[in-house]
């Protein structure tokens, strides 16, 4: 557990970030680059070529049980995603819920590829700030059945952008084997790693998990392709917002259920009626009756950013909702936000007003993603 006043931790790529001119900030207990060349430049570079992000602060866990059926069944008692039908080498986004249906974290569960790990092993990647919190929940609920290990010795590099596949294909065959949300083990220049086709930018991309000791060499190999530039947390945030992707602790938290958060897809289809997971009674009730408020995307007029905390108001000026993330979208050159609004108005096309420093700004509820997602639906580059 990271103590509030403990000095921030450094990832394996820290020295490389500093050498590349990264402006380092404390984020979730880690010293990470918020930007290099500039957020807008890094954002646009990711949308046009490829950027490398250090996401080593994320929690990488290994779960071990007797066999796949036992491990996936046990995890399903805690996680509402359909895990038992995961194919080898595939990944699923889901949420960890509390008894009230509130979201304790959002995470990705992976079933290893054939031959990658013993049959009862699965991988989970969780948010940096929730690592020890999640581990405690997993161990308390399932510690008798499964072993949970949080890796401290692994780095995670995210190569994101339309040419990410072409860049990585020069080092190995993963781009020709994987589609979006698939994973495989690989050996690149003698470095053992796990390559997953996923990301947090809305672009095609890959996350490469490998030992801390080899992370810098891997990053340097990727930077050897001049189309790859470093990008920081600032661009990561503006990219994920344009892609309509939630940020834990902002767009959802332990008081918000996945239906209100518009994350129904994180709950397996059959499980929406069968339940059988922590928080299910409440979540099934909300599915049945509909949520009171809902997370929506809003595109605002003008240029003034409408940020987290801004109030959504009705015609009479009364508060009816709140912005949970907002920025000036570099690709759209317009302010965009995510907000919770009453479910009855949460329809694309509805005009709403937000209050920024006492000024009213007009916006339109807009279907997310704000920009087209560019995921690889078939293997290839």
């Amino acid at each position: 557990m990271v103590q509030p006043d403990a000095p921030p931790l450094k990832t394996a790529l820290y020295d490389l970030h500093v050498a590349q001119g990264g402006r380092m900030v404390d984020f979730s207990g880690y010293e990470l680059p918020v930007q290099f060349e500039g957020i807008v430049a890094e954002h646009m570079h990711t949308r046009t070529l490829a950027s490398l992000f250090d996401v080593s602060h994320m929690g990488q866990m290994t779960v071990t049980g007797p066999d796949f059926k036992a491990t996936s069944s046990a995890l399903e008692t805690l996680l509402p995603g359909n895990l038992k039908n995961l194919k080898p080498g595939s990944m699923r986004y889901t949420v960890l819920l509390n008894a009230n249906g509130g979201i304790e974290d959002d995470l990705i569960v992976t079933r290893p590829a054939v031959g990658q790990a013993p049959d009862g092993v699965m991988f989970i990647v969780v948010n940096a700030a929730r690592k020890s919190h999640d581990l405690a929940i997993f161990k308390a609920a399932l510690g008798d059945l499964l072993e949970f290990e949080l890796h401290q010795d692994k780095a995670l590099l995210a190569l994101q952008g339309p040419v990410a596949g072409a860049v990585l294909a020069k080092l190995g065959d993963a781009p020709h084997k994987l589609t979006f949300m698939q994973t495989m083990p690989a050996r690149i220049e003698g470095m053992d790693c796990q390559i997953s086709r996923c990301g947090y930018t809305g672009e095609d991309g890959f996350e490469i998990s490998l030992s801390n000791a080899e992370a810098t060499r891997m990053a340097e190999m990727l930077y050897a392709d001049e189309r790859v530039k470093p990008a920081g947390l600032g661009a990561r945030d503006s990219l994920r917002l344009e892609a309509g992707l939630c940020l834990y602790g902002h767009d959802m938290d332990d008081t918000i259920d996945p239906v209100s958060a518009d994350l129904l897809f994180a709950i397996g289809k059959q499980r929406r009626t069968d339940g059988g997971f922590v928080g299910a009674p409440r979540v099934l009730e909300i599915i049945k009756n509909g949520p009171q408020k809902r997370r929506v995307g809003i595109l605002f007029e003008g240029r003034m950013p409408v940020r987290e905390g801004a109030e959504i108001i009705d015609e009479g000026g009364a508060k009816i909702g709140q912005v949970t993330s907002g920025t000036f979208a570099p690709s759209l050159k317009a302010p965009i936000a995510m907000a919770y609004v009453p479910a009855e108005i949460a329809t694309p096309g509805t005009k709403i007003k937000a209050l920024v420093r006492g000024r009213e700004v007009v916006g339109t509820i807009t279907k997310m993603p704000f920009v087209r997602q560019n995921y690889a639906r078939q293997p290839g580059i």
Binding site: G234, M304, R307, T327, F328, P330
Partner: protein
Amino acid sequence: MTKTLFSKDHEYARLEGDSATIGISDYAQEQLGDIVFVELPAVGTSFKKGDEIAVVESVKAASEIYAPLDCTVTKVNEALNDDPGKVNSDAMGEGWLIKVSLSADADTAHLMDETAYAAHIA
């Protein structure tokens, strides 16, 4: 004869007789990063030194800009409405924020000249 003075908070005031041009320093724009929006005050508004005169927003955050000295707004840089990036590209020139009139006894003792400011940000 003009003289450029700086506040500790990285605003500048370029003084010309009883008027001045106010903006943020090149160091400040560099720290803020890509500026995407500037909120400027109404012409005719009077400020005491330290009052909030403008808000400069980057992709990442909104930053308040304070009056470096007592002043009354005579003109605002309308060009920033369409091109706030001028503050990044030319903070001390075309990226100025407001022009103001000063009272005859405007106090500038708390402000730094270029040499002192260079030492302040070093």
